[in-house]
């Protein structure tokens, strides 16, 4: 029972990691395409870079551990 639960938790964590990765790739690609066509690039690039950094900080670096008590 506990083993099945652990397996499910691990599968969930791996799926989350993949979903975040897809999000990062999509944002990075949009950034690259926008840079070829749009004006006001500094604004666009900032708007597209911030969510990428946020995704990595929140999901990959677990920044919330700083104010949450549990081990992981």
């Amino acid at each position: 029972m506990a083993q099945a639960e652990t397996y499910e938790r691990r599968r969930g964590a791996m799926a989350l990691g993949t979903a975040v990765f897809i999000g990062l790739i999509v944002l990075d690609t949009i950034e690259f395409v926008v840079a070829r066509f749009a004006d006001q690039l500094l604004l666009w690039m900032t708007l597209l870079a911030l969510p990428q950094a946020g995704l990595i900080l929140w999901f990959y670096m677990h920044v919330r551990q700083l104010w949450r008590e549990e081990g992981h």
Partner: protein, 192 residues
Amino acid sequence: MAATTEHLRHEAESPAERLRTNRLGLWLFIASESFLFAALISARYYLLGTERSEHLNQPLGFLISLVLLTSSLFAYRAETAARFGDQRGFRRATATTIALGLLFMVGVVLEWREGLAFFPPSTLYGSAFFTLVGFHAFHVFTGIVALALLLWAGRDGRFGPENHWPVEGVIKYWHFVDVAWVFIFPTLYLVK
């Protein structure tokens, strides 16, 4: 005497408290590093505004960005595997992260070769480009060394649910290198 006091202090600390202290220390280190990168990025805009060289290889910059983002996925998988006690998964994902880090470095070397021809470090743009990319590449290099040491230390299966801080620490550092690149890539290659 000092060593004994230190030993007693560690004895008194619970593993959860030690983990919290370790994490806080690492985050403070990451914050201090962020200020360095922010200063270099600011210097680029201060010196050049949004001007950039027309000779930059944007597709190559985009490609190495994808490589670094992919390495972050495998770093995440390595950490998750260690946390759940999957030794084989940990070693495989860590080795893949190292390989992708090395591939990123190859891309940087190729970009530097082109950069040296079109905007050498003696030019204003070259100075900003080589300082920023060089500073970041040094972090990638140290990250690769740390990952290699982690892989070597974990060859006997010592990292698991009860002992994953070394893995967590190194992987967090690797992700930070990726966060820094998320800002460096548009700053150098895309903004104009």
